[in-house]
Each structure stands twice: as structure tokens, then as C-alpha cells.
């Protein structure tokens, strides 16, 4: 048992993508958890006297148009990014898995209706669709994440559907059927466990997109509202003052790229480790 564990650890250790991504994410998570200790100032504390301070010993990343410490804001922004990843990831997962399982398992009209819906959300550009959803349910971070998730679940549904279709007729599912298991139990206890590795991979590959889309909507002014330390919002404000204080747009952007890049690497690494067949895609 412990030997197997050792082997797994060794496999992970060998996979450079996974390790680097893991370390990056770990650092982001730690920063988010200990934000209270790391950030030297309160992220919302305004100080009109210190407007547009250049990065210095006092203000590592400078200050913004209201004299707020940029470093503290970037640090607190990591919480938002991770919250977005968590909420968006789970929402997409739940919708996508439910729809995909239903499509693959029941077939017939359920499949047709739901597949049509997946195709619909698939062929219309995500940002536009998300914009439409935000229009409907209103501005705000959580709403934005919901909007993005309502758009992004389609790729999960497709994969789950395809996998379910191929698993449905496998002997062990037939056996379960013969034992009189209910449809629900067949789906959850027989089919789902076999999809989990690919799901983990999909989630990690999709998370950077989710974070990016949400930040984009925040940038457009539809997501997080001031005084939230959201990175997208910060960059948006930064561009307004770009000739005066370029650091306002640079540092939040760096943080964002760092995080998404970490997720990307982790996803690629996980894919190699868990689902080598997907590599060809």
C-alpha cells in the first residue's frame, strides 16, 4: 500500500508540468489563506494623501487612484480567483456531469434535447453568451461565475456523454442491471467512478478558462464591483490611469497570469498522469 503510494509520488515528482503547476498553485493557495498576515495594509483602506505612489519599500506594488496599497489588493485578489475557480469548477462539473450522464444513459429524446442544448451553448461564443446571462441575472461576482458556468458546462457534458455511451454496454454495467440496480444507482455507482479520472483532468484544464472569463467580465465592469480587490477590475482601473501609474495594471496582471499558468501546467500534468489517452487531442 505504502509502496504504491510511494510510486505515485514518484510518478508525480517525475512529471515536471505537474510539479511546477502544483508548486505555483500551492503558493497561491497559501497566499490566499494567510492574506491577513501577508498584506501590510487593509485592501480597502483609502489614503488620499498617498495617491499614485510609485512602487517603493512602503508600497511594494505602489498605490492606486484612491491611495490603496496595490500589494495588499493583489494578495487579497488571490482569494477571489480561488473562490471563482472553486465555485465555477463545481457548478460546471455538477451541470455537465448530470446532463452528460442523462444523455448517455437514457439516450432517445433526452439525449436529443440535451445534445441540442449542448450544441447551442457550444457554437455561440462564450463571452457573448455569458454577457447575455449577466444581463439577465445582474452584475456581480457570483452572478458572473454562474453565467460563465452556464456557458462552460457543455464541454463536460460532451465528454461525459461519450464516456457513458461507451461504458453503458460494458459487461459490468449489464451485470449491475441484471442484479436489479436502479438507473440512478447504475449511473452513480457503476458508471461515474470510471469517469472520474477524466473529470479531474477536465476540471483542471477548464479552471484557467473559468478564472480568465470571470476576470474578463470583471474587467468589463460586469463582475466584481468596487471596492473589491478583483484583479480584472484592478487592471481595468489601471488602464484608465495607464500613463500615470502603469504599475496598477502590471501587477494584478502578473498575478493573474501566474495563477492561470499554474492551473494550466497542473492540468497538463494531471492529464499525462491520469489519462494518457487524451494526450493525442
Amino acid at each position: 500500500m505504502s509502496n504504491k503510494f510511494k510510486e505515485t509520488v514518484h510518478e508525480c515528482w517525475k512529471n515536471k508540468n505537474f510539479m511546477i503547476g502544483f508548486v505555483i498553485l500551492l503558493s497561491v493557495i497559501l497566499v490566499a489563506i494567510f492574506a491577513d498576515f501577508i498584506a501590510p495594509y487593509d485592501y480597502a483602506q483609502q489614503n488620499v494623501g498617498d495617491r499614485f505612489e510609485k512602487p517603493s519599500g512602503d508600497f511594494w506594488f505602489g498605490t492606486d487612484e484612491l491611495g490603496r496599497d496595490m500589494f495588499s489588493r493583489v494578495v487579497y485578489g488571490s482569494r477571489i480567483a480561488l473562490w471563482v475557480a472553486f465555485l465555477g469548477g463545481s457548478l460546471q462539473l455538477v451541470i455537465g456531469v448530470a446532463v452528460g450522464l442523462a444523455c448517455g444513459f437514457f439516450g432517445k429524446w433526452v439525449d436529443r434535447v440535451l445534445s441540442f442544448m449542448t450544441d447551442l451553448t457550444w457554437c455561440i461564443p462564450g463571452t457573448i453568451l455569458a454577457l447575455a446571462v449577466v444581463t439577465l441575472i445582474g452584475k456581480g461576482l457570483t452572478n458572473t461565475v454562474i453565467a460563465i458556468s452556464l456557458v462552460a458546462w457543455a464541454s463536460y457534458a460532451r465528454t461525459v456523454r461519450a464516456k457513458t455511451l461507451s461504458l453503458k454496454n460494458m459487461a459490468f454495467v449489464e451485470t449491475g442491471k441484471a442484479f436489479g440496480e436502479s438507473n440512478f444507482s447504475l449511473m452513480v455507482r457503476y458508471i461515474l467512478p470510471n469517469i472520474i479520472p477524466s473529470l479531474i483532468v477536465m476540471v483542471s484544464l477548464n479552471l484557467p478558462g473559468t478564472i480568465m472569463s470571470t476576470t474578463t467580465l470583471s474587467f468589463l465592469g460586469l463582475g466584481s464591483q468596487p471596492p473589491s480587490p478583483d484583479w480584472g477590475l484592478a487592471i481595468s482601473k489601471g488602464i484608465e490611469n495607464i500613463s500615470r501609474a502603469p504599475w496598477l495594471s502590471i501587477f494584478p496582471g502578473l498575478a493573474l497570469v501566474y495563477t492561470t499558468f499554474g492551473f494550466n501546467l497542473l492540468g497538463e500534468g494531471l492529464r499525462d498522469l491520469l489519462d494518457p489517452h487524451m494526450k493525442s487531442q
Binding site: 447551442l120 444581463t135 480568465m212
Partner: protein
């Protein structure tokens, strides 16, 4: 076609399901309730949902998208003034992106695992982690603020389009490049390429007549499918660089909840998406005889 109807329905439902009274958007809040009801009646907001939908569709078919509640002007005129900006941005971006990404993708496939391939792939991987809006910001910082070569924002001349187009191209290129590379690699492994070599055809002929010709089918689809994405990307780009295009219009209208405009723009994009899909199907049919059969078979 079904798609267009569905989308138009969804788009319209959007407005109907909007929280708040649409009349509030039109008039001052202090107006009396009676006056409000009167305006609602004038605008047809008091009628049942399907009647409203019917009227709206009727108008759209006749080219009448209604009137903007904010600008108090015809939505069609409003869009007409914006479309050229977006068209210029998207058109140039698409052309330049393809001119760069397709040859590079091909090169990467041919020299797979070479230095250039690894460099390009890693670079495009990095670019996928860089959001377009931040890239735009960096460009402004470098070329407009520090070097002063190009204007920060505005829409007076060709110089104003250089940065927006560059941003769009760079942030979209990675994907196109990688897909081109995979497609070409896939064709490389096809048996008929081996057959072509076995026939004694020189490498150049095999590359052009067999590999490229077949990869073209898939790349064409890619091009047409990418147009809607380009347009959605334009929302962000137009916001960064202050281009008064459709994306900006959509965004501002969403923020002030100018429903007729939002509906019209969304519908336009949806129709464009459907048209692009259709064209890509047709072009594929022309390029690939196998699909021609299934198309004329009427199955699809």
C-alpha cells in the same frame, strides 16, 4: 435555421425576464403610475409575452429592431454607425492571424519536436495564460506610453488599429496555430500519404497535393468557426482601446440595460454564428467529396 429561431426567442426572453420594470429605463422615476402605464401601453410592454415576441420578430424581419431606450434613436442606425469599426478590427485581425498562424503551424508540424516547434508551442501555451485585456494594457504601456509611437486610444486613423489588431492576433494565434499543427500532423499519419510516397511522388508534391490539400478541409472549418469568437473577443479589445464598435455598444447597453440594443446585437451575432457555420459546411462540402455526398443526401 432552427438555431436562429431558438436564439431569437432566447434573446427576446432575456428582456422579458429582466428584473425591474422596463418602463423605468425609459422614463424618469418620479413620473406618476398612470403616466407609466400609459408609456408601457405605448411601447407595448403591457401585452402578453408571445404577442410582444411576435411584434418584435415582425419588426426584425422588416429591418426594424425597435428604438434604443437610452439613445432614443433607431437601433438599426445606432448599429450601422458602429459596425464599420468592428468590421475593420475583426477583418484585419482574422487575415493577419491566419497569415501568421497557418504557416507557423505547418512549420511546427514539419519540424516536429525541433527547436522552433518547442519554442512556438511553449510560447502559445504561455499566451493562453495571458488574458487579452492585460496584453492590451502592456502594449499600450510599451508602444503608446513609453515609446509614444502609437496613440493610446481613439479611432481617428489606421494607427489606432495597430495595437488592437496586434492584441487580438496574439491572443488568438496560439489556438489556431496548435490546431493547424495537430491537423497537419494527423494528415501526415494518414495511410494515403504513405501511398503517395510509395507511388514515387517527390516530397514537395506529396506535401502540397496530399498533405496540405487535406489539411485545408479542417483548417477552413476552423477559420469560419473562429469568426464568432473573434467578435466576442472584440468586446474586450474595443473596451481597452476605446474603439466605438459593436462590442462597446453591447457592453454599454448591458450596463444601462438598454434592452432593444442588447437584443439586436445578440441576435446579429447569433445570426452571424449560424451563417459562419453554414458557410463552413458548404466549403467543406466543396473541398471534401465525402461530405458532398452526405450533404446532397439531405441527411444533414
Amino acid at each position: 435555421m432552427v438555431l436562429v429561431i431558438c436564439v431569437s426567442f432566447l434573446v427576446f426572453s432575456l428582456m422579458y425576464m429582466m428584473p425591474g420594470d422596463p418602463v423605468d429605463m425609459v422614463v424618469d422615476r418620479k413620473v406618476s403610475l398612470e403616466r407609466k402605464a400609459e408609456i408601457a401601453h405605448e411601447l407595448g410592454y403591457d401585452q402578453p409575452f408571445f404577442t410582444q415576441y411576435k411584434n418584435w420578430v415582425k419588426g426584425v424581419i422588416h429591418g426594424d429592431f425597435g428604438r434604443s431606450t437610452r439613445y432614443k434613436s433607431d437601433v438599426w442606425d445606432l448599429m450601422g454607425a458602429r459596425i464599420p469599426y468592428s468590421l475593420k478590427l475583426c477583418g484585419w485581425s482574422l487575415v493577419i492571424e491566419l497569415l501568421i498562424a497557418l504557416p507557423l503551424g505547418l512549420l511546427c508540424a514539419m519540424k516536429k519536436d525541433g527547436f522552433f516547434d518547442r519554442f512556438t508551442v511553449n510560447f502559445s501555451l504561455l499566451m493562453t495564460a495571458v488574458p487579452a485585456f492585460w496584453l492590451g494594457a502592456l502594449f499600450i504601456l510599451l508602444f503608446a506610453v513609453k515609446l509614444g509611437w502609437l496613440p493610446i486610444s481613439g479611432y481617428s486613423g489606421i494607427k489606432n488599429y495597430i495595437l488592437p489588431v496586434a492584441t487580438t492576433v496574439l491572443s488568438g494565434m496560439g489556438g489556431t496555430l496548435r490546431i493547424t499543427k495537430t491537423e497537419v500532423l494527423e494528415v501526415f499519419n494518414e495511410k494515403y500519404v504513405t501511398t503517395a510516397y510509395a507511388k514515387g511522388l517527390p516530397k514537395r508534391t506529396v506535401m502540397i497535393k496530399h498533405v496540405l490539400r487535406n489539411a485545408l478541409v479542417l483548417v477552413t472549418t476552423l477559420v469560419f468557426m473562429s469568426i464568432p469568437w473573434l467578435i466576442s473577443g472584440a468586446v474586450v479589445i474595443e473596451k481597452i482601446f476605446g474603439l466605438p464598435g459593436m462590442g462597446n455598444l453591447l457592453l454599454n447597453s448591458i450596463i444601462v440595460q438598454d434592452m432593444p440594443v442588447v437584443q439586436a446585437v445578440l441576435l446579429l451575432i447569433a445570426i452571424l454564428t449560424v451563417i459562419c457555420n453554414l458557410i463552413s459546411d458548404i466549403v467543406m462540402g466543396i473541398l471534401d467529396p465525402r461530405i458532398r455526398v452526405s450533404l446532397s443526401g439531405g441527411d444533414n
